[in-house]
């Protein structure tokens, strides 16, 4: 059973990512959603069996980068892989994300192929 946490303040973007994952054949059995970093921390605590977290950067209340730093400080959750999915595309931002504990990076806008390539290491393909 593959469980994925989608963290984005845009409900539309969460829907688009879910649709693209299904259309590209990546296997996810359950999607959990959060609209900011604070909600995401609550979802992680409720779902310690998460297989992957897709994380926006710019969100109200708690940003993606603050979330991933906090996540990596939690012993129980520190092994969950995190892929940033964000409009922040500069080399400096990508380095900052990886230094903070993100495992992968995908810049919006993205094609379905780019999404599959970014997540293929973490999810099975049909």
């Amino acid at each position: 059973m593959t469980k994925l946490l989608l963290v984005d303040d845009s409900a539309v973007m969460r829907k688009i990512i879910q649709r693209n994952i299904k259309e590209t054949g990546l296997i996810v059995d359950e999607f959990v959603e959060a609209g900011d970093g604070n909600q995401a921390l609550e979802k992680v605590n409720e779902n310690l069996d998460l297989d992957l977290i897709l994380l926006d950067w710019n969100m109200p209340n708690m940003s993606g980068i603050e979330f991933v730093k906090t996540l990596r400080s939690l012993n129980l959750a520190k092994r969950i892989p995190v892929v940033m999915v964000t409009t922040e595309g500069s080399d400096a931002k990508i380095s900052e994300a990886k230094d903070s504990g993100a495992d992968g990076y995908l810049t919006k806008p993205f094609t379905a192929d780019q999404l599959r390539d970014a997540l293929g290491s973490y999810l099975m393909v049909q």
Binding site: S10, A11, T107, K108
Partner: protein
């Protein structure tokens, strides 16, 4: 008065918008140059704004009709959307966020580091906007060679059309001292 020159900004707005649609919104759009519009002449149904701050500050915005916003949202979600609801506002915000983010990444070397705000979306009928900044703080910016834009009250508008309807991507930029 501070003057800065940005070559190719129109081409950058066009390429960033085309990239967003080609990647994530299955909808043919066609650009048609650009023009400058006084702020008090803007009248539209849906406005989505994202501001940026840094060495330069400004706003990237979507201006479009209700029908165009519904059409874009329907294409983004892959379902028919027939009335302005939270999904439409969210979709217009995300569209502006992606265009603004792409533009930021493209013009980074010219404009310097900048921070993008979260989008603000307003939907209604015949909406207009007005700047609340100090009129003594005007700065003239040359956006492209030979064209001067007063950042206080004029927007550089890049129109796009699709299936008989149009929307504009607006941009104002000011260099901070």
């Amino acid at each position: 008065m501070t003057t800065a020159t940005y070559d190719n900004i129109v081409e950058d707005v066009i390429s960033c918008t085309n990239e967003v649609f080609a990647s994530m919104i299955p909808m043919e759009i066609k650009s048609d140059g650009s023009f400058y519009q006084k702020e008090d002449m803007i009248s539209t149904d849906v406005i989505s704004l994202i501001s940026f701050t840094g060495e330069h500050s400004g706003i990237v915005a979507f201006f479009g009709s209700k029908d165009m916003a519904l059409k874009i949202t329907s294409k983004m979600l892959g379902i028919e959307v027939s009335s302005i609801d939270q999904d439409v506002k969210d979709a217009m915000g995300e569209l502006t966020n992606m265009i603004g983010g792409s533009l930021k990444n493209k013009v980074f070397e010219t404009f310097g580091a900048m921070h993008l705000s979260v989008p603000i979306v307003i939907a209604g009928a015949a909406l207009s906007i007005s700047s609340s900044s100090n009129k003594n703080d005007k700065q003239d910016l040359t956006i492209s060679p030979g064209v001067t834009c007063n950042s206080q009250n004029s927007w550089m508008m890049t129109p796009f059309s699709s299936e008989g309807d149009t929307f504009n991507i607006g941009l104002v930029v000011k260099k901070n001292d």
